[in-house]
């Protein structure tokens, strides 16, 4: 071994760093260019979803600072609640359009199945978060939704452990557990997107292999 060459320590931390740099080098994590085929308005809905999530979390944090009753008693609180509501409507609208776009692009191709799965689970978790938010409103809407939703949850045994009429339990799910899950899933999803890159058009071939006879066998999606 050359004396001038730095010695790589053989420990877990070093192995993790090498793995991270190999799988996700800075130029992949924050690229300053994108494939030329990435040219459609549908691509905007991914970043719009993340942007709306940031507004949802931000307005939710303001509501959390003042407590769950604030928005019923203060006009400023009511306005912040309105922002929270509309950012949620935007968030889920953008997410659904993003999901349909990715479906028609068959965006799970090229070993991107986990990207698709994390996106779907994030979608389900978002529906659960919005639902618990409706339950935590402390008004007629939350009374009605909880007394109706209990039947569905009870019918499959979930209601025994997830009591939609327990305001405290629902508030904790809404502001702690489900947002944490969405946060983890979003980061995981974005890291996978950056790691694999933007899925190429269906049937596209790279310039150097742009011949009609190019065929290979696909690995797992």
């Amino acid at each position: 071994m050359s004396a001038s060459q730095p010695v790589e320590p053989r420990n877990w931390t070093g192995a993790l760093r090498r793995r991270l740099l190999r799988e996700l080098p800075p130029e992949k994590l924050l690229p300053d260019s994108q494939p030329a085929y990435m040219a459609s308005w549908i691509y905007l809905f991914g970043v719009l979803t993340v942007a709306a999530l940031a507004v949802v979390v931000g307005t939710g944090c303001v509501l959390a600072l003042k407590g769950p009753s604030w928005w019923h008693l203060s006009s400023l609180g009511h306005y912040v609640n309105s922002m929270h509501l509309w950012s949620v409507e935007l968030f889920l609208s953008f997410m659904v359009i993003h999901l349909w776009g990715k479906f028609f692009m068959a965006a799970w191709r090229g070993r991107r199945a986990m990207t698709w799965i994390t996106g779907c689970v994030a979608f389900f978790a978002s529906i659960g978060t919005a639902f618990t938010g409706y339950l935590a409103q402390q008004n007629l809407d939350s009374q009605w939704i909880s007394t109706q939703a209990k039947d569905g949850l009870n019918s499959v045994g979930i209601g025994a452990y997830f009591n939609v009429m327990d305001f405290g339990q629902m508030l904790m799910w809404h502001i702690v557990l489900l947002p944490a899950a969405i946060g983890v899933l979003t980061v995981w999803h974005l890291v996978l997107v950056r790691r694999r890159g933007i899925v190429p058009p269906i049937g596209a071939v790279t310039p150097e292999s742009e011949t009609p006879t190019e065929q290979r066998t696909e690995k797992q999606p």
């Binding site: 459609s40 509309w86 950012s87 090229g110 109706q148 499959v156 045994g157 025994a160 596209a204 310039p207």
Partner: protein
């Protein structure tokens, strides 16, 4: 011999030509745009906040319905009293095919409607002498006798003009009229709301008992239907007033509008089972032949990447694997 052509693999995206793209700038512009849009929508449309229904308001607005509901709770004939798990063992609950998931989950939130919703609140407040005597008479009676009293009083309320307890014909109702009349008084004064919400604790956040009592009557339902929140009004995805609600629940709500779900005694379990299956299909779509081919067969992708296909005609696009 008919041999299948091998599907074309998806090439590495990093092997394609690139163009400059500023992700950070795009993200910040998107954040600014969504923030401004949210500010605007909130200022223009605000958000709904209908006051919650209370037992006090219920007793003022519809004392007959409250009294009939209270008799049902006392006699064990209300929806909650006959619900089954997780509140009691009066029924097995719904089934999903051969699976009794509701029963297997067990009674995790036990509620004895007669005690928890009627007798206990009466005992926890100063008792007029007539109520003390009525409570003693009720406690001393057999279960059969109690059921006869509540059944007879329920029938009599049904025959009275507008279900008005004051217009019930005389009969053998035991202590039931005295008990429910006192409960009505407690309801009107707001005491019953406080008692049911407190559930014996100073600090508590569980509204199960109060909400089940409200839901057993028709007052809460009338309020909800007036806001188009009823089950047959696609209520699960609606919001009070003219606001968009949980539109993303449209498919879940849809099943309740069609047969066989609509009229099934196991409708909730069937809808949950169906949605669980559909969710699993969506989640595992990349691995399901046929479903994962829909994008390739519908060719919507050619619209999305029309610029690319214009410059790079793909001779074997249909041979690509999805």
């Amino acid at each position: 011999m008919n041999r299948k052509r091998p599907r074309q693999e998806t090439p590495d995206s990093h092997a394609f030509p690139t163009r400059p793209y500023d992700l950070v700038k795009e993200a910040l512009i998107a954040l600014l745009a969504v923030t401004l849009l949210t500010f605007g929508l909130a200022a223009l449309f605000s958000s709904p906040d209908e006051k919650p229904a209370t037992i006090s308001a219920w007793t003022q607005a519809d004392p007959a319905d409250f009294t009939a509901t209270a008799v049902g709770e006392l006699g064990g004939t209300s929806a909650t009293a006959q619900y089954g798990p997780p509140y009691n063992t009066a029924a097995d609950g719904q089934k999903l095919g051969p699976l009794s998931l509701q029963k297997w989950a067990g009674v995790k939130h036990p509620i004895d409607t007669a005690n928890d919703l009627v007798l206990q609140p009466l005992r926890q407040t100063p008792e007029p002498a007539a109520v003390t005597a009525a409570l003693a008479q009720w406690s001393a009676a057999t279960t059969d006798q109690q059921a006869k009293w509540t059944s007879a009083y329920t029938d009599a309320l049904g025959k009275a003009p507008n279900g008005d307890p004051a217009k019930v014909t005389s009969g053998d109702y035991g202590p039931v009229p005295a008990l429910t009349a006192r409960l009505l008084q407690l309801g009107r004064s707001g005491t019953l709301d406080a008692q049911l919400l407190a559930e014996g604790h100073y600090f508590q956040t569980d509204y199960t008992r109060a909400l089940l009592f409200l839901a057993d009557g028709s007052y809460l339902q009338d309020q909800a239907r007036a806001q188009h929140l009823g089950g047959d009004q696609w209520g699960m995805m609606n919001e009070t007033g003219n606001y968009p609600g949980q539109a993303w629940l449209w498919l879940y709500t849809f099943w309740y509008q069609v047969q066989p779900y609509k009229s099934s005694a196991n409708a909730d379990a069937l809808v949950w089972g169906t949605m669980a299956l559909l969710s699993a299909l969506l989640l595992l779509l990349p691995f399901i032949p046929g479903l994962r081919d829909i994008p390739r067969l519908t060719r919507v992708y050619r619209l999305i990447w029309r610029d690319w296909y214009r410059d790079h005609p793909t001779p074997r696009g249909d041979a690509a694997r999805t």
